[in-house]
């Protein structure tokens, strides 16, 4: 059964960043700068929070933009990243219409694997995984 990460209710977000921490932790890092999920304010704390995640496209534009085969289709939606083929050209990030791809310090894209680990740390169930197949 394949799952994809979904934003269930953005407005309930309190901006604690526990999800970003969780993703970073799983990747072996403390810093949220290297998280595949991004939560940030729009217009500061007085505005609402924005949650940028990979939307699990069935026809991933990022994959189409990659000329080196570093991104392949993931069962259920989204893409699988093959680091050995990546040239760090950044085309995937430009192609993503929902601003979900960020890059690490070395210039590699940070690609969500839809593992759902982040959802376990959301105190308000803003993010969730959905079974798709």
């Amino acid at each position: 059964m394949a799952k994809v990460l979904k934003v269930a209710d953005r407005r309930r977000c309190i901006g604690c960043l526990s999800c970003r921490q969780a993703c970073a932790r799983l990747r072996g890092e403390y810093s949220i700068a290297n998280s595949a999920i991004e939560v940030k304010t729009s217009g500061g704390y007085t505005g609402e929070f924005v949650i940028n995640i990979c939307r699990g496209c069935e026809e991933p534009a990022c994959m189409e933009a990659c000329k080196f085969g570093a991104l392949t289709k993931r069962t259920g939606g989204g893409v699988v990243f093959h680091k050995d083929k990546c040239t760090k050209c950044g085309a995937c990030g430009v192609a993503c219409a929902v601003n979900a791809i960020r890059f690490d310090e070395e210039g590699y894209p940070i690609i969500c694997t839809h593992c759902g680990y982040c959802t376990k740390y959301c105190p308000h169930r803003c993010i969730t995984t959905k079974e798709v197949l």
């Binding site: 526990s18 403390y30 810093s31």
Partner: protein, 580 residues
């Protein structure tokens, strides 16, 4: 010092427009927060100069657990307080600790004064940026501009001052990310004296979890996260938040009201946590790294013109604000309290001191110590418009009277009289409790004159034997030195028991024993008193105003003689500590 064996200190000299990083292994033993910031203050302070002299340092420090363990969200600032003219320490949440963490900085030491208003952008280095056009702007407006002129959305934090800081009001605070504050003791004036409008920090560095800690760290993090979210230990902070205290304190005859002429009001339900939640609460937000979300945002819709023209105010509220800008001034509705909070926020003042100063001003005016010519508004408990105007007058130093009010209630009472009803303890305006000796004595002797130094108000509520109170106050402050050095939010003090603190440290690779922590707490207490002594401070200077002994507390009417004896008893304990 996370994942490395040194403390990284960023030194910024505003006068020379220079900065440098120093990797200091010798500071590791101070851990972070209170310990580290006190040590750096001790190294850099100039006791012979005025607190607002450009040469004085302003220090910000985080700790080894900051952001990487749940609810370790605070940053500690230390400075020479222009308000109490002694040791200044203030704490704030928000995102500043996270941003410092991933900008790779454990502490920042700012000295000197810019030639003209500036703000600092700290990323991989420091940029000294022009802020002349921002001078005079509100805290909120400055924040909105900084968000447009700097990068790093999502990993950024900004701290800034309002007009009160620029104009050196001695209880001006520093706003952190709109809803949190270094509120107390005048850090805002220190920033203003340096011509520094704001500091923006971008935290986008990578910090690898050391291989040997990967499993351990996740295990400890999960354990604490579970205690935070899935037990009752922090429930009250999430649900109604700290305003849950309003009704119980009122019932206990412990809610300071009408300049502490009263300890109980008949409109408590109208300004209670429940009332705010029902009528004004629109959302809750969190500091970075805390899943609780205790920041309660209240909303007021205000008609600014005929023809259905509305504006909306969104401000954060807490018990202390409801007390200081509500019950203490006799303000009877949640909407009016939020409107008053809004103007205090814009001007960048400390909410507690502002409310208590206005409470004194009202009584002084009613009793003829000051005239309308001086006050410009006819102060009357319960009339919010006067107070809204007065807050702006304080912040802009409208006339001699407001200049004096801008130096706190001790100073104002010295000039105009009425010191018996000037509600300060140890030179700092009182907080929202009148529970007994624990609160009065604990606040007065606390090293930063904060109700959070030793939680005396909480000790009182456990109805202790009178002879045990001083020891309890003393022990609690020692214990809190550990929490505030690490820098764990004090709302999580029940989550972080000693065992958990030790585990959390182990989770980031710091192995300490319980005995070492106990000794550490004492060392930090000593360090704080060393600084105080250098600044000429003595516990002998404490004189608790009569008002505290006129109005009954939860534990009855207090005796001035007994309270001052307790201060002496505390002084003896500190002397013993210093001689250890």
């Amino acid at each position: 010092m996370l994942a490395r064996d040194y403390i990284n200190v960023l030194y910024i000299d505003l006068e020379k427009q220079e900065y440098r990083y120093e990797q200091r292994k010798d500071l590791v033993k101070y851990l972070g927060g209170t310990g580290l910031a006190a040590k750096l203050l001790d190294e850099n302070i100039k006791p012979e100069l005025d607190p607002l002299d450009p040469a004085q340092p302003m220090i910000y420090a985080i700790g080894p657990l900051s952001f990487v363990m749940p609810v370790c969200t605070k940053t500690v600032a230390t400075f020479y307080s222009p308000h109490t003219k002694e040791y200044g320490e203030s704490h704030a949440g928000g995102r500043f600790a996270m941003a410092m963490r991933f900008a790779g900085i454990d502490a920042v030491v700012v000295t000197g004064k810019s030639a003209h208003p500036q703000y600092l952008l700290i990323d991989d280095g420091v940029q000294f940026r022009d802020a002349r056009a921002m001078w005079g702007l509100s805290v909120e407006e400055t924040g909105k501009i900084l968000r447009q002129t700097t990068h790093g959305s999502g990993v950024r934090s900004s701290i800034r001052i309002g007009r009160s800081g620029e104009n050196l009001v001695t209880y001006a605070g520093v706003n952190v990310d709109t809803y949190r504050h270094f509120g107390r003791l005048g850090l805002g004036a220190v920033m203003g004296s340096k011509n520094l409008k704001a500091i923006v920090v971008i935290g986008n560095n990578t910090v690898d979890i050391p291989q040997e800690l990967k499993v351990k760290y996740r295990k400890v993090y999960d354990k604490i996260y579970d205690r935070v979210l899935n037990t009752d230990l922090m429930k009250k902070y999430h649900e109604l938040g700290t305003p849950v205290n309003v009704i119980p304190l009122n019932e206990m005859h412990s809610l300071p009201s009408f300049n502490l002429q009263k300890n109980k009001i008949d409109f408590a339900e109208d300004v209670s946590g429940e009332k705010f939640a029902e009528d004004n609460l629109v959302r809750k937000v969190a500091c970075a790294g805390c899943p609780i979300g205790c920041i309660h945002i209240g909303q007021v819709r205000r008609e600014f013109d005929a023809g259905y023209e509305y504006e909306t105010i969104n401000v954060s509220y807490d018990h202390e604000l409801i007390f200081a800008l509500g019950t203490f001034l006799g303000i009877k509705s949640t909407d009016e309290i939020l409107e008053l909070i809004d103007v205090v926020e814009s001007e960048g003042l400390d909410a507690i001191s502002t409310g208590v100063v206005l409470g004194w001003a009202t009584e002084a005016y009613k009793r003829g110590y000051v005239s309308l010519e001086e006050t410009l508004v006819p102060f009357e408990f319960g009339i919010v418009q006067n107070y809204i105007a007065a807050v702006k007058y304080i912040s802009t130093r409208k006339n001699k009277f407001y200049e004096d009010l801008g130096k706190g209630v001790v100073h104002a009472a010295k000039v105009y009289g009425g010191s018996d009803f000037a509600c300060h303890l140890g030179g700092n305006e009182m907080a929202g409790y009148h529970t007994g000796y624990g609160n009065v004595v604990g606040f007065a002797v606390g090293s930063r004159h904060s109700h959070l130094d030793n939680g005396g108000y909480s000790i009182d509520q456990s109805k202790p034997k009178e002879e045990d109170i001083v020891k309890k106050v003393y022990d609690e402050e020692l214990e809190r030195n550990i929490l505030t050095s690490l820098v764990i939010c004090l709302f999580a003090r029940k989550v972080y028991t000693r065992d958990i603190v030790l585990e959390a440290l182990e989770g980031v690779g710091i192995n300490m024993t319980n005995e070492e922590l106990t000794q550490f707490a004492k060392d930090i207490q000593k360090l704080k008193y060393q600084i105080k002594q250098k600044l000429g401070y003595s516990l002998d200077s404490i004189k608790i105003p009569e008002r505290f002994f006129q109005t009954k507390t939860l534990n009855g009417v207090l005796s001035s003689e007994k309270a001052h004896e307790m201060v002496k008893e505390y002084k003896k304990m500190i002397e013993e500590l210093m001689n250890e």
